[in-house]
């Protein structure tokens, strides 16, 4: 390998080498951190909600006119919904995961605790709630129909029984003995008994620190004349059921407006729109940076090939094979890229530290930089391949031309 003479020759034309090296360094630093941020966003976007999102949808019903009885309509709607062919189950619910709006509160182990033991969201559902959400009960039992209470907006939340997620149960009772324990949803008595634990569901707020802290409460709770329903269709029949539900609900009661039916997949899509946009923008920035770096390498290598045509011919005349010439340019690029990558590696970790300090971002995992090294080495070698092949085709007779 001709590393030493190539390096020594490069040191005599430092400007081009420094410019390309700097470009490679910046690309590595930015690409590593941007990829890490994209990875984090994708991880957030793909967190499972614990629900059967593919088959589930939600909609709201707003009654109007005098004498509209929201609670009565809710009960008759549920009877209609559960009769529609293709409906696996339906429940009223004040909110759903990822929807962005809901009811959150503290939950305590002692009455009148100054600071609650954990934060949670409340999903007020009936005995069909767990089945409609599609969550998995891993301990205890579901609500019984007798436990479902009519609840009024503004009244204190003091249900005798509740069902919590495992994450919340573990937070409240780290020993794993939450089932049957009593907690306080309100600062006063009475207490609520945990009768069931579900594997997983999420809060409505996707940026919540404790996103899996959720509590199911057995309440019928219309918000005045407004009620939100969650419907789970039989597998693969969601779209068909959505159309049928829209029609049946309109027929069942003309004194109300049915809001837009939204599948849980759509809810997720909308909830993570900003994260997706950021991932796309960062992806575009990465693509642009890589393209600019590759073009920079192509440009520099092409210029050097043109500038050194006589020199290449001389090397050929002195015995270099085409492969020797190809290898020369590939090695030269490898050296420049490696120097840039070493600087870029330091820069990447530095940028990560700065992001940690400024935005409480997690630390860049160590393996991003070595993987980035490999990718940019490959990019550099690919970018220089065209000019290097052109160089290898310079005929040796060029050496004797007196231009």
């Amino acid at each position: 390998m001709e590393i030493r003479p190539i390096l020594s020759a490069l040191m005599r034309s430092k400007v081009s080498m420094i410019l390309i090296g700097l470009q490679v360094a910046l690309t590595l630093a930015i690409v590593c951190n941007a990829l890490f941020i994209i990875g984090q966003r994708l991880e957030l976007m793909n967190r499972p909600s614990g629900m059967n999102e593919a088959d589930t949808f939600m909609f709201g019903s707003s009654g109007f006119g005098q004498g509209y009885d929201g609670r009565a309509v809710m009960k008759s709607d549920l009877a209609v919904l559960r009769q529609i062919p293709g409906v696996a189950d339906a429940t009223p619910s004040n909110s759903v995961p990822m929807s962005g709006g809901g009811w959150g509160s503290g939950i305590s182990l002692q009455p009148k605790q100054k600071t609650s033991s954990a934060d949670t969201t409340f999903y007020m559902v009936d005995d069909h709630g767990l089945n409609s959400f599609g969550v998995k009960l891993i301990a205890g039992r579901n609500f019984t129909p007798a436990e479902i209470e009519d609840h009024d907006q503004g009244a204190r939340v003091q249900p005798p029984v509740i069902i919590v997620t495992k994450a919340l149960a573990d937070k409240l009772f780290p020993n794993g003995d939450a089932l049957g324990k009593q907690v306080y949803l309100d600062e006063d008595e009475p207490r609520s008994t945990i009768v069931g634990i579900v594997e997983k569901t999420q809060e409505p707020w996707i940026d919540s620190k404790d996103i899996e802290h959720a509590t199911f409460i057995p309440y019928f709770l219309p918000y005045g004349n407004y009620t939100r329903y969650l419907v789970r269709a039989e597998p693969g029949r969601r779209d068909e059921v959505m159309k049928a539900v829209e029609q049946k609900m309109a027929e069942a009661n003309p004194s109300r407006i049915i809001g837009k039916l939204r599948s849980l997949q759509q809810v997720r899509h909308e909830a993570y729109a900003n994260d997706r946009a950021m991932a796309i923008i960062l992806g575009a920035v990465i693509a642009a940076l890589l393209a600019v770096t590759a073009l920079g390498i192509v440009g520099m290598a092409s210029f050097w090939v043109a500038q050194r045509t006589r020199q290449i011919g001389t090397r050929r005349a002195l015995g270099a094979t085409k492969f020797d010439i190809l290898r020369y340019f590939q090695t030269e690029n490898f050296i420049i890229t490696t120097m840039g990558l070493i600087a870029g590696g330091i820069l990447a970790y530095g940028l990560s530290l700065w992001l940690m300090q400024q935005y409480q971002s997690p630390r860049l995992p160590w393996y991003y930089v070595p993987v980035g090294f490999l990718c940019l080495w490959a990019l550099g070698q690919l970018a220089v391949l065209g000019p290097a092949l052109r160089a290898s085709r310079v005929p040796p007779a060029v050496a004797t031309r007196n231009v």
Binding site: E2, S8, A9, Q311, R316, A320, T321, P396, T400
Partner: protein, 241 residues
Amino acid sequence: MLKMTHLQKVYRTHLIETYALRDFSINVREGEFVAVTGPSGSGKTTFLNIAGLLEEFTGGEYLLDGVDVAGLGDDARSRLRNEKIGFIFQSFNLIPDLNLFDNVDVPLRYRGFGAADRKKRIEESLSRVGLASRMKHYPAELSGGQQQRVAIARALAGSPRLLLADEPTGNLDSLMARGVMELLEEINRQGTTIVMVTHDPELAARAHRNVHVIDGQVTDFDDEPKLRRPVRDGDTAAAIA
């Protein structure tokens, strides 16, 4: 050492054929110093390119040190060139970004010699041309004559059996030209075969034998090696002046 028989080099386009060499025959024996002369465009450089395996020919036969080079692939030609031939170019063709040591090292690396062997050869050949003390200098720091000496050292480092010189003094003033010419004669006396292309009849006269080329054909072939006349100070300078 170098034997071309009825060699032909034709450049073809879809309209015309141009003969750069036509029925070109020459036989250079081992240890000879042959000068190839002729006017510009006569085919001297084409001959040199073909002799040095820098270009392929279109007809005839070429034996280099007994090897029939017709049909050799590009890599085989490169290896043969590296092993058997040393080149001296009119414009020296040193690599400006490499110091003298690394310039001389170029053909040796392609030859695959080990580092210690290369170092020994480089030091010996630079000593031979009187530039051992300037190994770390760059070509731009040398005079034209010194640069051509480095080029000669580079050509000699691999111990080639044939030295091809293309107007080796063409870019030098008379004093430097004389020095280079004396060096070539010295190298020849030590056994290396030299074929020198020149348009200068005075320089050609110092070779053992002259081949005159016009329109791609050998027109005057002095087949009998002549006795070298003694070189005296001022001869070359006077000839060039």
